[in-house]
Symmetry: C2
Subunit: 377 residues, 2 copies
């Protein structure tokens, strides 16, 4: 059996995702579609609209055969670390190809990667602009290409990671269809995930844009998860923890611990807080991820330790997905499991477990410990 891998958030799973899964399978002549999916927090550090189990159910009902969790220490990271972590897991799973959406699939991403090989965080040191802006300025000067669209940025990151590790699977960019990522209105059967979340938030009809399984899951939520609801926990941590402890938080640098503490003391809501701490040096995505790291009390050394010990937490599968797992299980070189044990929740999976406990602000469902995988027959 041949598998095509995908790196996804499915936040929530919509008609565009269904199209993309079909295209991925067709274009790579794959028998099974394997999704490495973010758990309960997105790359931007935001809580997902549905928990990972609901999103797994919707995906398995719509063409995906196997869903594996992208652990929080890979999932809530800038594009290059997110992509590298996800491809590492797909490589372990022995996929023949990795498909990804791109706004410009015709671009030669390998060429863009070669042209910018010498640019890293250390060589880009202007403190008045984000790293992404500085990188893009350089890329445009050298190649004439401006890497702005979010899926193009990820496509670049996948290409770079695959080359760096000499992965043997094919890379298959797929043209993104119809709606713009930032489009906030549902106009037809294909809408952006953010437009769908907005419609749910506003109590407007989103059903034309999602498959039945997603509609069914969304009907069960009473509030759209957001940082507004997590802010009391973040605020308390920023206020109560001494700065010498806060500065041990992963990615807490350049005095941000003082700035975050100061604005936490002054801000009673998240919007006020996050606008308060924003500077030209950091993107909102970077700062929101930092909020998540701080709330999870994720320390630099803990994250390093976790990143060195990846694993495959199987969230669900179809009969085809199960057959594929059977085929590859002997060649998988990292721990692979369908249930988180008592020992794993305090060890291997401790950051996912803690992120799941935080996500219980939105659901009474236990997210990890002894949770059975979704089995679609």
């Amino acid at each position: 059996m041949r598998a095509v891998g995908m790196v996804v958030e499915f936040n929530p799973f919509h008609n565009g995702h269904r199209y993309y899964v079909r295209q991925a399978k067709a274009q790579t002549e794959a028998d099974v579609a394997v999704a490495v999916m973010s758990g309960n927090f997105t790359q931007r550090g935001e809580p997902t609209i549905l928990d990972k189990w609901a999103r797994t159910r919707a995906a398995l009902a719509n063409g995906v055969d196997l869903v594996v969790e992208l652990p929080v220490f890979y999932a809530c990271q800038p594009a290059h670390r997110f992509a590298a972590g996800a491809l590492r897991l797909l490589n372990e799973l022995g996929v023949s190809a990795v498909a990804f959406g791109a706004e410009h699939p015709q671009w030669d991403f390998a060429q863009l990667v070669r042209a910018t090989a010498d640019l890293d965080q250390a060589t880009l040191k202007r403190y008045t602009a984000t790293y992404a802006t500085q990188f893009n300025d350089q890329l445009a000067q050298r190649t004439g290409v401006s890497l702005q669209a979010p899926n193009d940025i990820l496509a670049f990151a996948y290409t770079k990671a695959a080359r760096a590790h000499n992965y043997q699977f094919d890379l298959q960019p797929i043209q993104r269809v119809a709606s713009d990522y930032h489009d906030q209105v549902i106009k037809g059967a294909i809408a952006s995930a953010s437009a769908i979340r907005q419609a749910v938030q506003d109590g407007e009809d989103y059903r034309q844009a999602v498959p039945v399984a997603t509609d069914h899951e969304l009907a069960g939520i009473s509030q759209v998860p957001s940082w507004g609801q997590l802010y009391p926990m973040l605020r308390n941590q920023l206020i109560q923890a001494p700065v010498d402890q806060l500065c041990q938080t992963y990615q807490m640098a350049e005095g941000l611990e003082y700035r975050m503490k100061e604005f936490a003391e002054r801000s009673l809501d998240f919007a006020h807080f996050i606008h308060g701490i924003k500077t030209k040096r950091y993107t909102y995505a970077h700062l929101i991820r930092l909020c998540l790291y701080a709330t999870l009390q994720m320390r630099e050394e803990e994250l390093g330790d976790q990143v060195r010990h990846p694993y495959l937490h199987i969230l669900g599968f179809t009969p085809q997905g199960q057959a594929y797992l059977h085929q590859v299980k002997k060649t998988v070189g990292v721990p692979m499991f369908t249930k988180v044990s008592q020992e794993m929740k305090d060890g291997l999976c401790r950051l996912d477990y803690r992120a799941g406990k935080l996500y219980q602000a939105f659901t009474p469902v236990e997210q990890d410990l002894k949770h059975a995988p979704v089995i679609r027959r």
Copy 2:
């Protein structure tokens, strides 16, 4: 001018308190009544129904002349530390007498103190009963007196603290009137504070039991503060902090850090959590205080440092109270101030400040920084 001191919570200020203030002034022939009042958390570690400013306003409108904050590191403590901290501040304020309510004011508390001088935490080591129970068993054996009622217990603690420090002021027990402390129904003009809080919670009429000023303040609250609303912050701290950090929390002993972490992971609400961690060894009051210490990330050494540096934060005064302050200010031996400065919020008053930030779960009002005292003309 002669002053009578009182140690109070005024949670909320009710008709019984008004009677008690008058009695205290009359029986000690005092010109002014000075109240050392807990801030935003009670001795049991619970958030107060009204913030310290609202409670100060009500007190000053009903016979109290000067209100000083009992800092959180004294206020949220078992009776002996609570009493010792409060009397230390009243002694600094040069009061002539200290009045306190007691269920049995006729008892010879000095004699009870002498009879139990050798009993401390170290000599009472049965792990199947709380310290209070063991102490009481011994006291009853030696004197025939059973110290059960909450105000009798505090009366004992005041007497013990005053003797230990050889304070020169008189001690004036005052008979508690009418309602039982634990009485949960309002039957007349005198009701217990807990009955009044329950009536507010249930939306029932409590006005016969409180002066107009308290009624006015209670009309402004939208919810009765409780640990139910603070639990998300406590839970997150217990889950996210490693045990080697949790065990540095003040009073966290005998593996309670593991027990609290375990039940935090399993409990989605405070009632479930607190019942889960209860053992015969600890009272609910002890455990709820520990919840507060953990949420405030109050460490053993930090508390020790704070207790060694008391201060007098003046919350409000009448013209009489102001005149008294003028009279005593030269003899006060600890810092005395009416406003918390930027420097003090991170230094001298840091625990009160952090407790005030936690209390903002219930009110948008800044509790400390630059808050002006209540001045009643």
